[in-house]
Amino acid sequence: MSKEKSEKSNPTITPELEERTEQSSEYVITDEECRENYGLGLTDAELLRHRFVAMVSQIAERLQNGAFSVVIRDMQDFGIGILAPHDPADDLHMDLVASAEGCPIHFFNLQYKARNNIREYGIDNLEPGDILVYNDVYRGGSHVMDNQVAAPVFHDDELVAFINIDGHFTDIGGSVAGGFAPGITDMYSEGLRLSPRLLFEGGEPVKETFDLYLDNLRTPEITFGDLQNYGSTLLEATELLEDLCEQEGAETVRNAMQYTLDYGERRMRAALDELPDGYYEGEDQIDDDGVNTDQELKVKTALKVRGDHAEVDFSGSSAQVQGNINGSPSDLTASAHIGLMSLLLNDVHVSAGMFRAVDVLLPTKSIVQAAPPAATTQGHLVPSAKAISAIQNTLSEEISGKGVAESYNDVPTVAMSGWDGRGDEPEFFLIFQVPYGPFGGTSENDGHCYSLQIMGNCREMAYEIEEELYPHVVLRKEFVRDSAGAGEHRGGPAIRWDQMVRFDSELTVSLEQMRQETMGVEEGKGGDPAYIFEIDMDKWDSKTADQCYPADGGRTPAEYRNMISGVIDTETGEIDLENGEYHTGKFSDKPLPAEQPFATVVAGGGGFGDPYERDPEAVREDVRDDLVSIEAAKEEYGVVIDPDSLEIDYEATEGQRAEGN
């Protein structure tokens, strides 16, 4: 076909598409190669690869529709995976073949947890309708609140796959409601730790396992529903794969799994091959471990690239600690992959094929690979978030073609528990929240304003539902003015979240990024650090509220605050990173009197690029949106704006920027 004719019949071939087509030749194989290697035409292979993903989406929908726990139903704190069978001779190792919606750290670590536990139970011991359950951190898990279930899929008596769900339980027993317990110092205090055992046998619930959960958790009614839901969801899910095997043949399905894994590997290797060979170091800090609060900790990463292969070495990270922020190898390996993929691969569903190109080194007895009996409940979140940040910092724009400044750099947790007196009889309640925050500016855009750290991807419950379910009121949820790291592309602003509980309760919090600003890159500035305070109700009244809000830009004057956490000037009550005193953001069971408002303020995102390069119109829009003050527009960005008309004085701006440079 002549070029002219092809252009007429294919008018949508743009230069961008041509470039992408050329790039994809690095990892897309021909139909002939596909048939030779997998016994499948390329179209069929691709259809099946996408069908695996669609099946996981369908399973996720089913799981959420039947869930009792708000953490699974509303927050989407789960991961689901289709895993290959275990056949090392054929290079199949219960690898993650497909994942979809849910929490990335769950499905990135899923196969490590699954492989260990299923093999310990004994693959040959599994029968149709069996469902295993397990949660032990030291058996490849994450933290004991994440309970994984695994169902074997059989076709004509042959085990062809596994389907796994890993979801967060609101409570798992232990010394603190919700399980997140800053201050505890060993795994024995954290809650139920389960080796692999049957939850369902031949499709029937196993009494002993159900009793173990129901007798030891603070929310047995919810847990009972969720365990049943796990079972019914998985039993339906196995039928989906059995039907697929019936339609296409078990051998075709297995070959399609191989194709999917190899495709993932080719994609990742092609992406790594684009990076210059080298040794790239990064690190990030952890405020403290919740016990020894004067000790700052470190997650260190070294990315070594050779051609299409890489190693991520966590050597130089802090030794494991007394508090509960010790990490597990499956979580930190997952974090290494998440960090790399966030910059290198953003258009392909995750499979374990991508993991083949990256090996992870984890020092023993460290906060990235703790040894028993170290406590780990917060270790699933804090070192993982920092590891992702460290890896993103490692790959600057020069190296990867993409640059990203630091996000709010945490996965905070807030839990409130007590007795709900709204009904005729008091009922125990446990509210579990994961405050969201901003992302850092990138080489292409301002930082996203409000999301969960990328390893989370969870949803937030609607406040109307939360206030109906629990005796709790959300008072304020808003951006904090002048808290975003300035940059050509600024970070997202810090967010404050004021709430109160109607009855006496206990408050447990873990909040990070208090000792330092978040990191800006390529001359971008850091975002504000995090802090926590209570409203001083002796001084606060409705008149004060009218005076302060909304003019305070999210910053309640110090005279109306009692600071709890942050780097605090004890005289002024203001945050002062240079001269203030550090008060940890990790505490358990703090008494919270009825109707006492408290506020958690997460960190602002770091900025990307020189703030003086920011389009003045964009700065004016920030001022109009009350994200940036008139004063900060001038001081940080060199943009002079009339406070009454909000018009830009371009001449003054030019002068200001010349003077500033």
Binding site: Y112, G122, S318, A319
Partner: protein, 82 residues
């Protein structure tokens, strides 16, 4: 499993402030690039824990050995038959 291996269900906390993975020199040249920078160390790979012998220059893996499934720890009952 030996009695010594069975005893390791709890580990004393470390003394150092920071921890490292030790890469042990191996007296062997890489067959791919002839480099003598060959080392052995544990790593968590896509298919589990392996102690690999790898050329540090070209990343060729000369040898790989499967480690304990959980890295450096194993339940006492790991090898019990169900």
């Amino acid at each position: 499993m030996s009695q010594e291996e069975r005893s390791q269900l709890r580990f004393a906390p470390p003394e150092e402030e920071y921890r490292h993975v030790e890469r042990v020199d191996v007296e062997e040249d890489c067959p791919e690039c002839d480099s003598d920078a060959v080392k052995q160390y544990p790593t968590l790979r896509f298919n589990g824990w392996q102690r690999i012998t790898r050329c540090q220059d070209c990343f060729n893996v000369l040898q790989k050995e499967e480690m304990l499934p959980y890295g450096f720890w194993q339940p006492w009952t790991w090898d019990w038959k169900k």
